[in-house]
């Protein structure tokens, strides 16, 4: 769950302001995020965003046909669009806001009308591609979690062949969820690029990649192919007004599936399959010191920017390794990535609530309590409050521990069947291979980071603490 703050406003301030606010609130509920919307209508500003609201928000959405003062949002991811866009398609707006560029004060002065477009053009093409990929992966992951866990359970109940009625039912459910991850990935990469029309060719491409054994890479590239096919088609096709209704319902779906599908089968499919096989072979062939080194690097990446772009890259790598497995296998790479990602919040929780209490303010000790929960849930962001306050000491400390944990996990050869779930999947039979050693790897990393950061930080004086309590 993420937090979003938004402002809606329209020229008369009577109706659209509120419709947009409601649409955003409904959309946020729908996709499981938390939102607070300030309405700037003719009644004046209502539900005004507080400083804390803005600080805690992961993204800011401004849906307005008037000029809204953005100075409050300096340093935040900010997406600015016309008020109608929020009414029309709140969900995709919210999704896009998480990848919006960070707002810098003074970067725009009064130019409002096309700020969304400018924002897009201002983004480097790499960032844009990256944000499409992120959208696809975020839609895919729940499928892998559900599918992976169900398959693991079916083996737990029915042995390696999932024998017995319950086991085979579980296996069937798991298989279906696992199969759907490919269309989800391809479809939502394309959706992110071309919105609704992208879904059909993207899902078809994802399914195609699955049936051709082109795997993660194939679905991903297929999604991009499908999305950009729609973009190009939309640019080229001009219809007489009377037929324009046919475009979304007949012409775009047909042509986009046809074109992107054929290109996939006859042109890029082959190389992608080879590439995918190569990657899988390389991962499987990785043994001994090389695999430990990989664990070390991936583990460090998971901590160094706390679920920022570097961490996400490592995470994608883990997920990719997972999706290339045959059934019943577990991924050592995914295991290393997940367990390393749990280290930063747990280490900070350990340091702030147990071994180094006197080095933290009251607020930080409170944050430490929730960091325990976040850490066990594999939400690396739990360490962010500490990293923001003291990056120089915190980030290196947690990176060292996470790297050690990642390397240990590879050394022990522990594996995992799901891409998320943290400590809670440890107890599900079949989800984790070598669970005791896995816990050991985690404990060592957490201890190392926790002690390191405690030693590096100096105790704060009582007076300082009282100050912070007053604040």
């Amino acid at each position: 769950m993420k937090r979003i703050v938004a402002i809606t406003s329209c020229s008369t301030g009577i109706a659209h302001t509120y419709m947009a606010a409601e649409a955003l609130e409904v959309a946020a509920k729908e996709i499981g995020h938390e939102i607070k919307v300030e309405t700037q209508g003719s009644i004046g500003a209502e539900n005004v965003l507080s400083k804390e609201d803005i600080e805690q928000a992961d993204a800011v959405v401004i849906a307005a046909s008037t000029t809204v003062d953005k100075s409050r949002f300096k340093g935040k991811r900010l997406l600015e669009v016309d008020v109608n866009e929020a009414i029309q398609d709140g969900e995709s707006l919210l999704e896009r806001s998480f990848d919006a560029p960070i707002y810098q004060k003074g970067s725009d002065t009064g130019e409002k009308v096309n700020s969304e477009k400018q924002g897009k053009e201002g983004k480097s093409s790499f960032q844009e591609v990256y944000s499409h990929l992120m959208t696809g992966v975020s839609y895919m992951i729940p499928f892998v979690v559900a599918g992976g866990l169900l398959i693991a359970l079916s083996f737990a109940f029915g042995g390696i062949n999932a024998e017995g009625e319950l086991a085979s039912s579980l296996k069937e459910l798991g298989d279906i969820a696992m199969t759907l991850m490919w269309p989800a990935l391809g479809g939502y990469v394309a959706f992110s690029i071309a919105s609704r029309p992208g879904l059909v060719p993207g899902m078809v491409a994802g399914m195609l990649a699955s049936s051709m054994d082109a795997g993660f890479l194939g679905s991903m590239v297929g999604g991009f192919l499908a999305g950009y096919t729609i973009v190009i088609l939309r640019k080229w096709i001009r219809l007489p007004k009377n037929f324009s209704g046919l475009l979304p319902i007949l012409i775009l779906p047909l042509l986009s599936v046809l074109i992107s599908g054929l290109i996939f089968i006859y042109v890029i499919g082959g190389p992608l399959i080879a590439l995918n096989d190569g990657l899988t072979g390389w991962l499987n062939g990785l043994t001994g010191i090389n695999s430990i080194l990989l664990g070390l690097i991936l583990g460090g990446m998971m901590a160094i920017d706390l679920a920022g772009p570097i961490g996400k890259a490592a995470y994608f790598f883990g997920v990719a390794s997972l999706t290339n497995l045959s059934q019943g296998e577990v991924s050592t790479v995914m295991a290393a990535v997940m367990v390393a990602g749990m280290v930063p919040p747990l280490a900070m929780a350990l340091s702030s609530t147990i071994i180094g209490k006197d080095r933290y303010t009251l607020e930080q000790r409170e944050a430490g309590k929730s960091a325990w929960v976040l850490g066990f849930s594999f939400i690396s962001e739990g360490a962010i409050p500490f990293a923001v306050a003291d990056p120089i000491r915190v980030l290196p400390s947690v990176t060292v521990g996470a790297a050690i944990t990642g390397a240990l996990s590879m050394l022990f050869g522990t594996g995992i069947a799901v891409p998320h779930g943290g400590f809670f999947v440890f107890f599900i039979p079949g989800a984790v291979e070598g669970v005791l050693l896995y816990v050991l790897a985690l404990a060592v990393g957490v201890a190392v980071s926790g002690i390191l950061v405690t030693v590096l930080k100096k105790p704060i004086h009582t007076s300082v603490e009282t100050d912070s309590r007053v604040q």
Binding site: S11, T12, I14, A15, Y18, A21, I43
Partner: protein
């Protein structure tokens, strides 16, 4: 939600006869004028059309909420018109409009009325509210549907 302050049965038309945007706006404005709610229909319509020229108030999903703030309005009012056949309205999603709320606000209006209108706008974003409005049989139901808390 205090809707009765803003509208009366005289401002509700469950079966609009016209099928174009301008015609529909005029038909509902006529109802307002007949109910003594406008000082100058001409001025009010001008404000509504000016707002339409900025961007269409056909927000999609079969809903349009043309509105105007003008000296030509005597008291804050809300008229409702429904057309099962649909009104051509150049909506954002290109579809015809079935539910139309015409809003009239005087130049100086108190917040209570604006609040009611803001709540109405929020309600219209919910699919089930729109469905009920399309299916209702009597004018009384309109108050019920829009008056529902939630």
């Amino acid at each position: 939600m205090g809707l009765e302050n803003l509208m009366s049965d005289a401002l509700i038309c469950l079966d609009l006869q016209v099928d174009d945007k301008t015609g529909a706006i005029h038909e509902l404005a006529d109802l307002m004028e007949a109910d003594q709610r406008l000082k100058s229909k001409r001025k009010y319509i001008k404000a509504v059309m000016k707002r339409e020229a900025e961007s269409t108030t056909g927000i999609g999903m079969g809903v349009a909420i043309p509105h105007g703030k003008s000296k030509g309005v005597r008291e804050p009012s809300l008229a409702f018109g429904r057309s099962q056949a649909g009104i051509a309205y150049d909506s954002l999603d290109g579809k015809p409009v079935n539910l139309m709320f015409l809003i009239a606000v005087p130049e100086s209006s108190n917040d209570t009325h604006l609040k009611i209108l803001s709540q109405l706008s929020r309600k219209l974003m919910h699919e089930e509210v729109r469905q009920k409005l399309l299916q209702m049989q009597t004018k009384d139901e309109l108050y019920e549907i829009l008056g529902d808390e939630g």
